[in-house]
Amino acid sequence: MPEARTLVPGEATGEVLVLSQPLSFWGGIDPATGDVIDVHHHQRGENVAGKILVMPGGRGSSSSSSVLAEAIRAGTAPAAILLLEPDPIVALGAIVARELYGITVPVVVGDAGGRRVRVRATTDAALIERA
């Protein structure tokens, strides 16, 4: 398993949803439902709520941090986000949601390697294992 890096600490376990393309949360996710709404995305119609979301990276809009924070507040966000490339705007949404609501959604640079995984991310280390 390649080394993973913590961007935002936390723990989560869940089913893995792998996005084949980058996604901008703004314009890409409906925070009321967790549905992928980007008409250009191959996985439009999938739902990210409660999933361990694996994505190549973010895209586009600087509003994505707001939309992720809103999805975390509304309970429609992924349980954890695994990024293949670091994306500060994704981490930012999770950090602010933790500050506002005390809800942690770990954000890690790394891949899942399974259909159901547990993510344990501390500031020092990140562990992704099959669950």
Partner: protein, 420 residues
Amino acid sequence: MPVELAERDRALLSGAEGEASALAMRIVVEMAGVMGADRLIDVASAHVDSCLYHGLAGLDFAERLAAGGARVTVPTTLNVGYLDLLHPDLNRGDPQATANARRQMDLYAAMGARPTWTCAPYQLPERPAFGQHVAWAESNAIAFCNSVLGARTNRYGDFLDVCAAITGRVPFAGLHRDEERRARLVLRLDGVPERLLGGDVLYPVLGHLLGHEAGSAVAAIAGLPPDTSEDRLKAIGAAGASSGSVAMFHVVGVTPEAPTLEAATGGVPVPEVVVTLDRLRAARDELSTAAGERLGAVSVGTPHASLAELERLVGLVALNPPRVPFFVNTGRDVLAEAASRDLLGQLEAAGVRIVTDTCTYLAPIMGEIDGPVMTDSGKWAWYAPGNIGVDVVFGALEECVGSAAAGRVVHDETLWGPDA
């Protein structure tokens, strides 16, 4: 890697200047870790997008900052909000969302930020100087700031933008650093007709292609005319920051950090993507979700129209007034200038609806539209179908105006043909 903090940074963290500054500095420091920065630097100004309502989380954050006594400490402009404050009859959101959105806009203005409500702050008289470090949000503005102004900003997302405005500090990472600003690939135009190079319609399409090819990497574009205007560079960046995560691009012989390709790349060999007319036509076609002649409305001015773009629009609609709803988005400062030059009167006389402070693709402004919406904006074409549930037809401004006058979509294929 631990982040080295200055004395004032530590004072802010400890709450010496209030709870809001402490929260803002805590977020800046944690983001420094995320971004791999070992220290913070000062910014000269900020452009804040956190004022745009996306639900309660953004409003809750603004309330938390306001309750903690937040004030911006550097000159700060505000991006679009969810509402058109100058034309309130255009706002058709539900009353609760409208009230929340208004409250969020008011809170940011009360922190001392200028209520500019525009996604094109680079059209305001005071803009960042070459080489200055700033903290800008709004993806198209970020691309313009780095690429065209040569000022330095990362892709600051909502929340971090205002934290930077409050603390005056950002992580020293990414595009603030010389080496991160160099081109990692080049897009070379090959055999693109002069007529297409001389028309506005090329530029959003080229930006759309740039976003796909570059992703988040800095690219250099070679083969554009040396007098490529700021409005055309704006269109490249806006589209590239939608289909991709473009935060900076160079145009060789045009933008300030690319007098030559070697200057843009730092002399390092980089991969080359050849941009042909066929590739451009394919990219253009990706921007439409509807075919056929049906037309419900037209929306132009995304990002907000400049004065020059409004002048051009006046010239076209005066001869060919629209028969379907026709919207143009612009900033309130540009609108004031347009009013003083009687452009506003001419637009209204032709039946064009002016939208300020927000944009037709992010708020329920247009109302019930019967049929696809035509636009000359790559960014509007990219986002509107998902955001407001319309089909979109992309075309040149002349095609948008001609179609609106005809009441049906009319394309002019000669714009994309070979030179005569």
